[in-house]
């Protein structure tokens, strides 16, 4: 069986950055497996700009951002296989994949980096019994149709859910001549970035109805309209607020889910909150030598953070392989300390830290459960508060981060848990 030192599953921005970083940290045999016909992942259909502000200090479109990393992969002569679907990864890191040229094949990896991205939540979100006429698309599918396949899904559009893809598509459809009538969001706040609300909806006078949902779909073969109603604070539609909108297209933009079938099958522990693998400070999953980064780990709103995370995963995978090659003991002294998300923090990545293995500092990324204004992010080592940082605002749609210093953790005697929570003023 052919052997690679690092096999990266998925050639999106996370997979590309991870592969480049593994190579730059001394790994020769790196392979990227991508099921699509080109590298770049979701960025290929994200033709709008707004990528790369953090890393490149300029606003790039999705394809331009992807190209910077694809060029790097080419320059470093990193191997990749396109049109190649990974079917299985065994606990012993045998990767089974299939493509037209090679058929079904197996490769042995020393380390695996999971970078499969995420998929869209779909119709399950439409809590309406009964028949589904044509004309209902997930926003991501519509984006692919319009931006890559040159196919317009329809002319009169209603969008359910205010995730970023839906907002971006509201503008895109408008620019292509369609009429976007309304965006309905079940929650009392938007799931998308403020910038997208302003530049995709307000710029084109598209109304955003918060605390609203679709309660009925009309039309036999093709959708002809929807009924939208306000919901009460328990999410139940209020009959007297029903409103009819005629439309030939309903787009669903109700969130993304990390794509972890492969991870689950190989026995990787999954966090039910993120739907992504549980990882330690090295972004290593519960299976030794298997790392995760990007949207497969937790949904990112900014690609820059997915890239930074992936570079980290690539470096850690390289370190793992180098140790493996040296036959040196992989065991590291010291227990893993749990990071606990509490009171207003929905989850953290990573969830575990080994002080002896961590760098001088580790960035913990997290999301909050609600909108918090003038609140504090506080960090406790067991009972002792070591960080209290004020944030003007934190919203569930934007990822937050906080840095933990090794020196502080090490100074705490017999540390057992790190707790992160939101403290209101």
């Amino acid at each position: 069986m052919e052997t690679y030192e690092v096999i990266v599953i998925g050639g999106g921005p996370a997979g590309l950055a991870a592969a480049v970083s593994a190579r730059e940290h001394g790994i020769d045999r790196v392979l990227i497996l991508e099921r699509d016909k080109e590298l770049g992942g979701i960025l290929n259909q994200c033709i709008h700009n707004g990528f790369g502000l953090q890393i490149f200090k300029e606003e790039l479109t999705g394809p331009e951002y992807a190209k910077r990393f694809i060029d790097k992969v080419e320059e470093l002569k990193i191997e990749y296989k396109l049109n190649t679907m990974v079917l299985n990864i065994s606990e012993g890191k045998v990767v089974t994949a299939v493509n037209r040229d090679d058929g079904l094949f197996e490769l042995q990896a020393k380390a695996v980096i999971l970078a499969m991205g995420c998929r869209e939540r779909s119709r399950g979100a439409l809590n309406i019994p009964g028949y589904r006429p044509a004309g209902i698309f997930s926003a991501g599918t519509a984006q692919r149709l319009v931006n890559i396949e040159n196919y317009m899904p329809g002319n009169e559009v209603v969008i359910l859910g205010s995730g970023d893809i839906g907002l971006i598509m509201a503008r895109r459809m408008t620019l292509e001549g369609a009429k976007v009538k309304v965006v309905a969001e079940l929650l009392p706040y938007s799931g998308g970035l403020k910038r997208n609300i302003v530049q995709c909806l307000n710029d084109y006078d598209i109304p955003l109805k918060l605390s609203h949902t679709v309660v009925d779909i009309h039309g036999k073969e093709r959708i002809s309209g929807v009924t939208i109603a306000r919901v009460d604070d328990k999410g139940k539609p209020i009959k007297s607020t029903e409103e009819y909108y005629s439309c030939d297209t309903l787009m669903l933009s109700v969130g993304l889910i990390p794509e972890n079938e492969l991870s689950r099958e190989m026995g990787v522990d999954i966090n039910p909150v993120t739907n992504g693998p549980r990882v330690n400070e090295s972004l290593e999953t519960s299976v030794e030598g298997v790392f995760a980064c990007g949207n497969v780990l937790h949904v990112h709103d900014l690609v820059d953070y997915a890239t930074l995370e992936a570079q980290n995963a690539g470096r850690n995978a390289a370190e793992y392989v180098n140790k493996y090659n040296d036959n040196s003991s992989k065991a590291v002294d010291g227990a893993e300390i749990n990071i606990i998300a509490k009171n207003g923090i929905r989850y953290t990545v990573p969830e575990k830290i080994n002080i002896n293995r961590m760098d001088e500092s580790v960035i913990v990324r997290f999301r909050v459960t609600d909108i918090f204004k003038n609140a504090y992010v506080v960090v406790f080592l067991d009972g002792e508060r070591i960080i209290r940082k004020k944030r003007l605002i934190m919203v569930p749609s934007e990822m937050e981060e906080i840095r933990l210093e090794k020196a502080k953790l090490a100074a705490h005697d017999q540390l057992r848990t790190v707790t992160i929570e939101v403290e209101k003023e």
Binding site: N44, I47, V146, N150, K194, L392, E398
Partner: protein, 126 residues
């Protein structure tokens, strides 16, 4: 006198900044929580601009479309004129990222450039 509302997007707080305007221009700005809100609101009122991104049809390419953007931002009120030209345009493959596809779009002085490459179809089939 007129009052216009601008939502500042410089940070997630999203302050609703109120701008008082009369014939002489901006008279007063309120509602911001930090200085960035003032700069943002001034720009949005006096000269709102946007980068426009879209796709243009490709003739003889491996893909039917190439993604494009305005190389610089253009006045907001020119967006639909810009789109009219973009939607009428067809280019021949090959296209390289950075190629100018439309010069001086809608008289803005700004070019529309490709953001991705598209190879000719036959190269792929070989």
């Amino acid at each position: 006198m007129e009052i216009k509302e601008v939502i500042c997007i410089s940070c997630p707080l999203g302050c609703v900044v109120k701008v008082e305007i009369d014939d002489g221009g901006i008279k007063n700005i309120t509602g911001y929580s930090c200085k960035r809100g003032i700069t943002y609101a001034q720009k949005e009122i006096t000269n709102p601009v946007r980068i426009v991104t879209s796709t243009i049809k490709v003739d003889g390419g491996e893909k039917p479309l190439v993604s494009v953007k305005t190389k610089q931002s253009i006045p907001k009120n020119k967006i639909f004129d810009c789109m009219d030209e973009i939607r009428r345009m067809v280019v021949k493959a090959p296209v390289e990222a950075g190629d100018i596809i439309i010069e001086n779009v809608a008289g803005t002085g700004v070019d529309v450039v490709a953001t991705k490459e598209v190879q000719p179809a036959f190269l792929i089939n070989q």
